[in-house]
Symmetry: none
Subunit: 191 residues, 4 copies
Amino acid sequence: MATAPTSPNALRGRPRNLAANRQILDAVRALLAERGYSALTIEGVAARAGVAKSTVYRRWTTKADLVVDAVVDTLAPLFDAHPGASPQDLLRALVDALGRPEARAAFLAVISEAAVDPVVRERAEHLLIDPSRRLVERCSATVASTVASTVDPDLLFDVVAGAVIHRVLVRGADADEAFVRGLLDLVGVPR
Amino acid sequence: MATAPTSPNALRGRPRNLAANRQILDAVRALLAERGYSALTIEGVAARAGVAKSTVYRRWTTKADLVVDAVVDTLAPLFDAHPGASPQDLLRALVDALGRPEARAAFLAVISEAAVDPVVRERAEHLLIDPSRRLVERCSATVASTVASTVDPDLLFDVVAGAVIHRVLVRGADADEAFVRGLLDLVGVPR
Amino acid sequence: MATAPTSPNALRGRPRNLAANRQILDAVRALLAERGYSALTIEGVAARAGVAKSTVYRRWTTKADLVVDAVVDTLAPLFDAHPGASPQDLLRALVDALGRPEARAAFLAVISEAAVDPVVRERAEHLLIDPSRRLVERCSATVASTVASTVDPDLLFDVVAGAVIHRVLVRGADADEAFVRGLLDLVGVPR
Amino acid sequence: MATAPTSPNALRGRPRNLAANRQILDAVRALLAERGYSALTIEGVAARAGVAKSTVYRRWTTKADLVVDAVVDTLAPLFDAHPGASPQDLLRALVDALGRPEARAAFLAVISEAAVDPVVRERAEHLLIDPSRRLVERCSATVASTVASTVDPDLLFDVVAGAVIHRVLVRGADADEAFVRGLLDLVGVPR
DNA sequence: CTATAAGCGAGACGGTACGTCTGGTCTTGTG
DNA sequence: CACAAGACCAGACGTACCGTCTCGCTTATAG
């Protein structure tokens, strides 16, 4: 998960401070959770991270870029393969990850920016949407489902991911076990 | 759907220019579609609307407030009762409305702000989420559905609205007739 | 002392509220003493006078105009003839009048505006400078001075009025009896 | 005569553009002469100086501060010691300096603000009044005057400076050689 | 051991927008 | 007509960040 692009010639000159990357992304997540995307400023991030403004700009070109990486950084473990995990476990993990305050503020902000900025869109698609789609597909593959295997994969993805997003992000409601179970029932995943 | 709050005592002093309301909201929608939420500025709105900045601030206190009203203003007809409309028609109308460029940029921005600003949250809930929920409920009530009537109404709302939002707003994909039909099939609405 | 210009046809329609004139000028003086000229606003004056903004604008066209009248209004008694008054008495009265807080803030502000705005200059010359010159000339005429009668009247005016202004307004120092006496000695007015 | 305060720690960060100081003060003087103090805006100064608004605010906190420095900047050479100069020369130089249009508008503006703002008063006293007082005292010290040496120094200062100010600034009249000679005669400076 | 190269903190730079305030004008209803 | 009220357009206020640019200094590799 290469977040910050490396400098053109990483072997010459003083190497970048690796700790700064983490400090910056932590600051982004903290500020996102506290104040939201539109109140997030690069200056604020730098100050919170204890880093010069130029250090942030050297690594990320855009506020949106920075936020995408901050989000991906926390969702990454979720997207990695989880051999042997049940659909219910995976869905539960997704719900938990998106429910974290910094993810709530950030995720839809990124999507909203993506609607208007093609660069953000590409990154968001590549780093957020595609992995979550693969997650859903892995689920449906692991079960001998009667419905999930017949339904259009596009629709299945929209229904499962959409329901989670709508419940957790849009409505900000609690996604309890009943929700997860009900959703899986609806798409035909056997208990 | 009274959008702009009226002045404290509307009978005293020079009355507000009613035309300005429409000019402002039109400008908001145009700029949202062109540049997106985070590039939207009150100064830009005022300039585009041909109105003084103070005229905007007199009527809306917040960029988010203004955007909520701009979105509601276009979605309002959708939320009004449509006697005799089939679920398929209603869902189709919803998909079309959300697919318009200014709605795409605005809707998720509003939700994203709502995650962090309680005032926005309350307005969004009242003016956007609740009406769309009633729309879904009206649908499920009009059909003798085998599934939709047994499934939890909360879940039904999340699945239907979520699938639309995910398809149209998050993924930015085309929501064709097959999608609408497939979604209705999944929740058990008979053809 | 016609302060507010009368309306074109004063006999038709509702007559002006005469009390408002005094309320406005009082408010001007109070605010001048408290905040100074550059912090003086028409809105503030209207609010303090308990009068609508338009009532002020109907009577004065300019902030400087308004201030000139406010100052003249308090200096007027000084400029009227004082038969039998000694030069010392007249000078003392001038010093006292200019030393009042609202006069301090206003007088030089008016002069400063006058340096740049011909309309203000004409009013200031007519209503402030000329009368005070006549005051000084009345003084020198009443005494059989050895010096004051031989010195150029222009210079005499500059020296007497200038010394007072410099002591009271520019330096903001106390103008005691010794100052008045010393100044008269210098220009040759016998005790 | 250090006008603009230096930054707290001048050795860190990018150094200030020294040329900007002069550009700004030049702009202030030009605008003062053209439009006067109350029409002077920081935005206008910045625009005229070809400098960002923040660059002005970084160096001066107040419009009055800025004007004080602009005035001092032009009067400074006058206040420096002029060994061998006659009182007549010095007075002539003072008259000429104050008679310049930008000085006229600025000087009275500063005094007028000083009457109401203690910070301005202190700066004006320190940078304008005290030096000009020393100038007058140097004059009276260089001559074996019969009057100037017996008269109260306070009064002498008020009379000389006051006469110049009244003639040049208040009345806006021409201060010719006769005025200078007459004033010196009056206070007893021998030819 | 000394270039050379890049990172870093600090902070100034020209800009843009913020949300507020005032100026001066206008448009109502009421007296 | 005058007046209070308050909306209107215009534009300055002083602040906050933007993204860029110097600085002096530090920390690496390459010669």
